[in-house]
Structures are given as C-alpha cells and as structure tokens.
Amino acid sequence: MAAPYDLNDGSVVVIIGSGAGGGTLGNELAQKGIDVVVLEAGARIEHEDFINDEWDSFSQLAWLDHRTTGGGWRVSKDFPNLPAWIVKAVGGTTTHWAGASLRFQEHEFKTLTNYGKVEGANLLDWPVTLAELEPYYAKAEDKMGVTRTNGIEGLPGNNNFKILKAGADKVGYKECHTGNMAINSADRDDRMSCQQTGFCFQGCKWGAKWSTLYTEIPKGEATGRLEVRPNSHVVKIEHDDSGKVTAVVYADKDGKLQSQKARIICVAGNSIESPRLLLNSASSKYPDGLANSSGQVGKNYMRHTTGSVYAVFEKPVHFYRGTTMAGIVRDEAKHDPSRGFVGGYELETLALGVPFMAAFLDPGGWGRPFASAMDSYANMAGLWIVGEDMPQEQNAVKLHGELKDKYGMPIPDVWFTDHPNDTAMRNHAYKQGESLYAAVGATRSFPTPPYPSTHNLGTNRMSEKAQDGVVNKWGQTHDIKNLFVSDGSQFTTGAAENPTLTIVTLAIRQADYIAKEMGAGSI
C-alpha cells in the first residue's frame, strides 16, 4: 500500500491533528511501514509563507473557530471567545511554539504521592514513571535538536536574557541559562541555524525552530506511507456494534462530508478539540461520548499557572530582538511547600511586539498608566511563568448547550477557575520576578495576567484505573482498544515544564506500542 489512501481502505491508521503528537506519531508509524492518514483541519502553510507581523500572523495561523468560555478566569472576561492561542494549520501548534523543551521531573509523575491530597484538586499519579520515559525523552531530544543535549550548544543570549541572568545572579538563583530549546544553534538535520529574528511565535521562516511541518511530516511523506490531508475538519468518529471505532467523518476543503475507514484512530487535536470530538461522537451505545465511562473526558483542563512580569529600565533593551523565549531560571521548579503551595514553576524570558504588548500587558487597561507603560516599550524586559496548576474536575471543556459550528456540531465551552494553589504560586512568581528585575535596576514592573492558554492539557488524562481517567499508560483509551489519544490531553498532571517535548516523547513510545500490537494482531 502506498499513499494516497482510499476512503474505504480500513487498514490505515487515521490520526486526527498534525502537531507535536499527531505529526510525530504519523512519521514514526510510517517509518515502521505502517500506512497512515493524517487529517488536519487547517491549511498547509509552508514556512516561507509565515508572516513577521503579529496580527497578520494570528489571522493566518490561529485557531479562530467559535469557542466560548466560563468560570472565574480573567481570560473569560477579557477574551471571552479566545480561551487558547493555538494553531489551525499543518504542523499544529509546533508552528507557533517558542521551542522550550524540558523533561518533566521524577516527582512530577507522582503528584498525589508527593504532594498529598489537595482539597478541591483532582491530583493523580501518572501510570508511567520518568525512568520508563527516559529512553524516549532521549530520542525526542535528538529528533528535535534540543540545545544542551546531544552535543548541541546552547543558543547565544539576547538582551532580554542578559537582564534575566544579571538579575538571577543578584537574587541568588543558580540555574539560569539560555534554555533547552528545539532551535538550531548550528545547522543540523538539513535545517539552518537561528538568525535571532524575534518572530518565533509567528512561525520560523528560516525553519531553524523544530516544527512537525518541515521535519516529521516531509520525512513521513518520503516513505510513501504517510498521507496528510489538510483542510479536513473532523466532525465525528464512528464505531461498530462491538464498540470498536471504524471510521472518521470529516468535512473536506469544499465542506462536503467524507468518511475515512480506519483500523486504528488516534486523536491529536489538542486539548480542546480532542475531548470535544469524543463527546460529539456520542451514540446510543456510548451516550456520554466515546471512551467516557469514567466521566473524565473534557475534565481536569490545565493550562499552567502562567502570567508574566514585564519590567522597565532606564535605558533601552529592545527585548524583541532575538528568540522570543531566550532563557530560563529553573530554581523554583522544585516541590517546596514552605513557599505556600505544592508544585513548582519555571521562569522563562518572553518578548512581545508593540501590537501584542498593547493587547496583553493589561487587558482592558487604559489612560495614562497604560500609555506611559507603552511609552517605555523599548526599555522593557520580560518573563513568563510556567507553573504546575492543579487539575480540577470543574475545569473542563464542555459542549455548548446551544451554539453549533457550521457542520452542526456543538462548539466547545471552556471553563476554568484558579485553584488557591495556582493563585499562591502565581503571586509568589510575580514577587520573585519583580525582585529579580528590581535587583538590576528596574524602575517599574507589571504583573501581567495569564494570556489565552498556549499550554492546554489534561482533558483525556492517563490513569492506572479506568474509573480515574480516559487512557492507559500507552495513551490507549480504557474503553476502546483501537482508539488512542496522542496529544497533551493525555497528561495526568501538568508539571512545571512546557509540554511539547513530553508530547513528542509519548508519541514516539506510543508508535512502538501500536506497531507491536498491530503485529500481534490485538488491534
């Protein structure tokens, strides 16, 4: 068999989504000789066509299908229809991401054991350990070209990093460097090195930053066993009387519904669309949606505590020059409840252009306090807080009661409220960030609230027991053997680290498992 595949070819693995999970899984399976169809809702936009302009790029790449929000989070008030800033295009959110590639820490796989029961939180241990994932983390780091691994030099520090490092040294932080980044510091894997362009979030026009768009996908396509169908918006997953999933219904580029048969289906549409799809695939046999015997599909939505600190200095910084995420302080990523919260956080530099600074520095802000902040733009440095937020059942991706998309399917309604642990952690991080910048002469700083979520996790979580989650340690759904989840919605907890490396790691390992099971004839 070779790509392209017939709609009636039920021997293929169908993957929904082409990002860190779907794109990697597709290539890994194709390399093993397995036939794969990847259905991507978005268009295929090659990296030469990315745009160095914040709002124009946003229109080009962002997932802008109608969504609603609820709960106590400020995003719901300031951006009621934009719960997340993620991508609708081939490559998924790996086109937009900043490149931070950190392994989770050992204790973060066992949060219930290590943090204990936290009132109001739905903590649970992962059914995998760091030791089991280590060989796959190593493969992922090599695949993605992560700096400070595999003999790859760290990236040089830009102005924003230099301020972070100077401040970190002053306040006594010990672990501050230019990060473990999936951005080439030298030519590697037929891709050139970083030119410090400053538009990482708008897609890397050089291809220096790793994205499945120009790595996994073309490599998979070269085997002849991977077919990527863009502009294919999946609407529903179908199953037979035995409960096995059998086909994926999607709207093609002309809006016409098509049905692709499948031997195995892997859902990798990121943590809002993936649970939505399972819920929208409800049937008389599965009235609560697919793989939802636990009731946990859509629940435990996490997005990291986030928030930013921007600081103003007497002299210019031009922090937008260079990589958007140019460095990290890791000292606070430990579990140390004496600080007043469980779990930890990373501090990572961040820069925005004038248009996005105006939109996100202080949403809703106006008048002289706001304008004077903007007038200091050239003298700003900034960082982003990535902290472990608590899984809560009430934080969930639900189906909207009335509103439907153009295919007649209920749209996602994303509910989130901070847990007291999240707030305590964020406030601690704001204070630490402000102290760091004050130590090197900041005259003014801002505790910027969380942006629309760029890390979206947990809504189809892994669990040892079927009653506690949606998938097992392989990302295979507890209820349906040939249905898998392959994106960050698998995460049992969020850890303090950016998710992409772990998503890629799990996808490489899941490919091994799927291939083994297919070979044994069990799926």
Binding site: N52, D53, W55, P156, G157, N158, N159, K162, I163, A166, C194, Q195, Q196, T197, G198, F199, K205, W206, E314, K315, P316, V317, H318, Y320, R321, G322, G353, V354, P355, M357, A358, A359, G364, W366, G367, R368, F370, A371, M374, D375, Y377, A378, N379, V440
Partner: protein, 176 residues
C-alpha cells in the same frame, strides 16, 4: 467612504477663525474634520463630523501619547465611520455614546473641557459601558497596530527580510 487626506489647501485663515470653536483643536468644516495646522483632514460619511472630532479626542484620552500626532488617532477611529455606514446599530452606539459624553461634560461638550483630568473623570464613570468598551477595544488594534507608529515606541517590526537580528544588535546591551 471615509477619506483622509493630507495638506488640504483652500481653507483661508478667516474660514478657520469663523469656524473654529473655543477650546477645540480640531476644526469642523462641512463634513470634514481638519487639523488646525491644515496638515490633514478627514471627511465623514455616516457619522456627524462633530462626532468624529470628539471620537479623536476620546481616543487620545484613552491612550494618551503626548508626542504622537493627532492624525494617528484620527486614522485609528475612522473605522467607526466606515462601519456606521453599513451597520445602523453601530452608528447609534457611537452617536449616542458621544452625545452622552457631551451631556456629561456640560456646556461646550466633551471637546470643550480643557483639562484632561476633567475629561478622564467622565471616562471613569462610563468605562464599563458598551460604548466605551467598543471604542477602547477597537483602539488596541487600530491605534497600536499602525506600522508608522512603531518607531515611536522603538519597535523595529518585520525582521526576516533584514536577516533577523543576529547581526543587528540582538545582544548589544551595554549598560548592565
């Protein structure tokens, strides 16, 4: 169609003196709003020119950048006139909102209040109204997304065509 044009000739000094209102920097002439130095003018088609003049003033009070010229604020709000031309509800929102501002300001209207503090006091009173939120929310993009304004803020914009910043100062900070 809303038009903005630079350097409109033909307005005599006598015209300016006759038509200028006390305390208002912008001049209304026919359907046009004109800058006092005649450097630019804007014709309104759906909104009243007085409404547009007040919108420009309001825009500056919402995001006051003292060294940024009026024309950037004018460009930022002209979309309201265009939208009012096809959307009756929007036209009503803006006209009623401006009328309310003028009413709260008393004699001379909003533009007649000389001190920023007095105008901003009124804005605080109306800041949760749909009118204020519509104007402010639109301005975040229509004002700050003007490429011609970015150099004022020290932002250099598009970078790929110039080879990124690897040789253009990405790490040139010297004062640490």
């Amino acid at each position: 169609m809303t038009t903005i044009y630079e350097q409109r000739p033909g307005l005599s000094r006598r015209e300016l003196l006759k038509r200028g209102t006390i305390g208002a920097a912008l001049i209304i002439s026919g359907r046009a709003v004109i800058s006092p130095d005649k450097a630019w003018g804007m014709e309104t088609t759906a909104l009243k020119p007085e409404t547009m003049a007040t919108l420009i003033k309001l825009a500056r009070d919402i995001y006051p950048h003292d060294t940024v010229a009026d024309r950037f604020y004018a460009i930022a709000v002209k979309g309201h006139d265009t939208k009012a031309g096809t959307d009756a509800a929007h036209k009503e929102l803006i006209e009623a909102g401006i009328a309310d501002l003028d009413k709260r300001a008393g004699e001379g209207g909003y533009r007649g209040l000389g001190w920023e503090d007095d105008r901003v006091k009124i804005l605080h009173d109306i800041e949760s109204t749909p009118f204020f939120q519509a104007v402010r929310g639109d301005l975040v993009v229509s004002f700050y997304n003007q490429k011609e304004l970015w150099s004022h803020f020290g932002y250099e914009g598009e970078s790929y065509s110039k080879g990124g910043y690897i040789t253009r100062g990405f790490d040139d900070i010297e004062w640490l």
